[in-house]
Symmetry: D2
């Protein structure tokens, strides 16, 4: 992709926690798009939000926003029950959509959306199963895809949350939490899920009354694989998501704080980064982003000329020390006030 | 920061490996900036590069590019010996600069730049010591800053490269490689380096003739700390950068593939991510970036309505299975051709 | 315990792989016992074995061996179907027994043994579930026992073998392999198992025809816990046994090559050894055992006087170097031929 | 080795912390030896100790103990300054000796011992550098020995103690602590140490007045290797000893709680145990030792017939569940009082 394509004007529908975060992301983090419209039933909220963004119009009606000529695409982040109508509005205008999960809250409405998109004759929707964009999951997917350890036979998933907000129910453990493992299972294995079982141990004393926490959810797939998922939403110690694929000649696990961990051919461990680009790619991106951000604010941050000078002086001493084998003192001028 | 500030027009000076990568980064990865000018002594190369970018002018002279009214800031990625002149050109126009390391190749020229910036009366330069923007180094810096394990006493650094390009010299081991540990030492400890020693073991048979590889470089600091750095540029197995801070009541290490690893109070280990935002922040960013990129190309990628429908169907079965304790089969329609 | 108690004379019944290994263990590794009798239906084999052991008599009949006045206790390592008769023989003579697992091959015969021991009025049998003596399992048991992370809610077990011998059956996956997880579950949780489920994914291509490998075995307990066990006996990559206990406020895992690994209170990791005794306990034991073994063979091994002298010389140089801050050369005499 | 050799009668000289621990070890842990004599200048102490051991005579004079006809070998665990005399006494009687480190407290006296042993014409002394018997160090030694990653170029050692006893001096950091790294360096690399440097950072506030803690000790070897050792004896968090060998094509590290950790050929990690014998070797040893110990005390411990019966019953249910794919309940009799 090059910048010869125009900047994408996005309408963000729904400006709650996820929607507001997507507005910030499009404005400040990613390249090639801008927020052209924001939509929320709360008119005051959406007006305030739009006021802070160059060229952004507030709407309370998704269809009206989609009619705005500055809008090229739609990001739906409203509550699940509002998704179907917004998706149909976008289809009516043939607009591309990024729709936060769930697509819709139940299978019947999802099927209606599916049929509407087919009526268009081409895909318009990307669903927000963001784990497919996680670096570790992608590496695991690639490893499975090239059959690095043979065919996958089982998956062991763990999905742990420190605690739950008020009102969290057993059904939400499936619909809001395990739904990610449902997508991960289908995506990693490239098979559909054919059956589900749920085992419910005696619950932790830390769960609210009525919540059966943890649970063990078991999937069978069209490929004959068995998948188990521990879902534990009041584990107390933090957020932790892991996935171990058991394959014919090895296993591969992600989510234990060290990239992909494999057992194979008599060795446990993982891969070593081949070079500095892979190791420090994110640092390079962040460095330039911070410089651009500070410069646009009229500020200067980060390593200074003093840092550059001091490094040069130590390098000179280092090269002398290397040649002589002796201790070499480093000489610096007094630190100027500008770099104080 | 909000988008009420204008997009920053950047002149990229030098379009070799690093410069070309910065052009790509500004165009495709980060937010709020665009490449307004590219500069290289190779006129054909720079013309070709500019042709692919909307509103970008090619130059062979840095000063001319800096006079372009579309240019708000300068990113210097030319070879080190060319930095001083380009920096002085930018100072003459009072332009903000991101200058790749080294600031300049030696202490005397760095001092001249330092004095020129002081004459301006304000900072204009950010030097490209990008490790300061690495997530792990930042976490380590924060841990040291809050004296989590008491005062730092020593640093143990390891800096390993798989191999070296032709012509790599002993001096380059200091100037191009250890220079990062020099900056990291000064930045993490907030002390200057006062003396250097270099110990040179019998070299590996895998190093080119004349290269004394590996070496052990020792720093002393104004704060009395001792810092050792293994520099091994033909280690063969990959790229690996690690840093262990030994403090009064614990140690903290980064670079071993699992965030910050601490020894403290009878326990080894690291921190658990508190929530999904921290864990999947990058995935969210990548998800939206990929959607924007695909949309601008006129394509649709990623999880489809079929994925949304299948997830909804499995969730429904899961909630039934949860309530009944039994195996519940999942019913799906035939997969439509559109999602084949 | 002190050596004022006499050395225990043990009859080892069955001298196949496990029996022969127990003979070696009693002779060469542990303290306080000797092999007084060996029993096998193969008379030549048992004669040959006994000939190599001081004061050891060969038998083909377990009962005859148990009548030998030199026999104080019995170790049963014969095939499972022979256990019941040998146990009843030992009960008839009121002899202490260490019986390799299984106690007997089925529940009915095990019940008969149970009743026979009760008729004696006191316990005489220790069953060879040796995982209860593994350092990591013991640490995990202790952690659960003191409710370090609250009540245990689930166990996740993995039991992997590189491959199976000819003739290995699905039933043997339960009776010979998962039997260890059965004991571990009962011992760690201090609950009985109330129900079992087995899920059988499409098998690996590396398993012999007819073997459903891997399988997922699910237990429910009297305490309401749910336990899953991956049993995978042709995993190819090695032998690996792990167990993760999921508790109310943390998890603890063993078997991943680093002692007990916990998630708790925002941190992952494990415990640091408090002192050198714990760290090098085994090394001390091995050191003295090797010295005794070599001495009894009339040999001298291990670190020599030369090693002691060289260490003393380096220490002297080290103390000088410590005081002076300078490089101090170490002076050694020529290495004498005796230490060549 | 077989038990056709007689049990070795050992005189333990010195019954302080280390000596008393060796007495326990010979009596209760290892095979093939017994404590025939104990020696200490404290007559009451040594009498009390000998009273608790079958056939053990107390002495206050090492030479007298060595004249005891029940004594076949000598273990010297007295303070370092007493070693030379005891060693010469043992040489005079041509007795095998295991001598705790240090051989003697300085190079001159060590040289006298060396010459005395040469006068005997054969080796009689094993020095107590017990790290050579540690499983991890032995694995590292073997890996270096077979040049698994090419020639070793550097060692990075860390030696950390939680705190120091009163009176601990800078010289003791070398003589009592770093002496282990001195031996490890010589043993792993099979080279002598040719020079020493010591760098002393500003000390931790947790060290007693006058102790320069931590320090960085640097060795050069006859083979041209460079070895650094962090010695930190008031680190606070526990006891930790690690060693990383940097070789031509990979590194190998021990002491980080997971056996040998290697970087090589694009992968980090370690080896997987090939089979259950290697994994549970120690558990088997401990199991039988505990059974022998309990039996000699007239007690029965460990897994009972009830455990054997319960396992058999669950196995039966498991095999049924495996065949049917259904949940199978486990039926147990009431637990008899004998196993309560």
């Amino acid at each position: 992709m090059t910048s010869s394509y125009g900047t994408l004007g996005v309408a963000v529908v729904g400006t709650g926690r996820m929607g507001a975060d997507h507005v910030r992301r499009i404005n400040e983090v990613i390249s090639g798009a801008r927020v052209a419209a924001v939509v929320d039933i709360d008119a005051a909220r959406v007006k305030h939000l739009a006021d802070g963004i160059n060229g952004c119009t507030p709407y309370t009606d998704p269809a009206a926003a989609m009619d705005d000529p500055a809008v090229d695409a739609v990001l739906i982040a409203s509550p699940g029950p509002a998704h179907e109508a917004a998706l149909l509005d976008a289809f009516a205008r043939d607009l591309p959509v990024l729709c936060e999960k769930p697509l819709t809250p139940d299978a019947a409405s999802a099927l209606r959306v599916l049929e509407a998109e087919q009526a268009l004759g081409h895909r318009r929707v990307q669903v927000g199963f963001m784990r497919r964009y996680d670096k570790d999951y992608r590496t695991l997917k690639a490893l499975l895809g090239r059959r690095a350890h043979g065919r996958p036979l089982m998956l062991h998933n763990k999905h742990r949350n420190a605690d739950t907000p008020p009102g969290f129910t057993n059904a939400m453990m499936i619909n809001d939490s395990v739904v990610h493992e449902i997508d991960v299972t289908r995506w990693l294995l490239e098979e559909e899920i054919t059956a589900v079982r749920v085992l419910r141990p005696a619950p932790t004393g830390n769960a609210p009354e009525g919540l059966s926490d943890p649970q063990l959810v078991l999937f069978e797939t069209t490929g004959g694989q068995v998948v188990d998922t521990e879902i534990f939403v009041n584990c107390g110690f933090g957020y932790q998501v892991s996935c171990e694929a058991v394959c014919e000649s090895g296993t591969a696990r992600i989510g234990d704080d060290h990239g992909v961990f494999s057992n194979t051919a008599g060795r446990w461990g993982g891969g070593i980064t081949p070079g500095f680009v892979e190791r420090f790619e994110d640092a390079y991106d962040r460095q330039v982003q911070r410089w651009v951000d500070a410069t646009r604010r009229g500020e200067v941050e980060g390593p200074s000329c003093w840092d550059g000078y001091a490094a040069a002086a130590v390098c000179e001493a280092g090269v002398l020390a290397q040649a002589s084998g002796e201790r070499v003192a480093v000489e610096l001028i007094e630190r100027p006030a500008l770099y104080g």
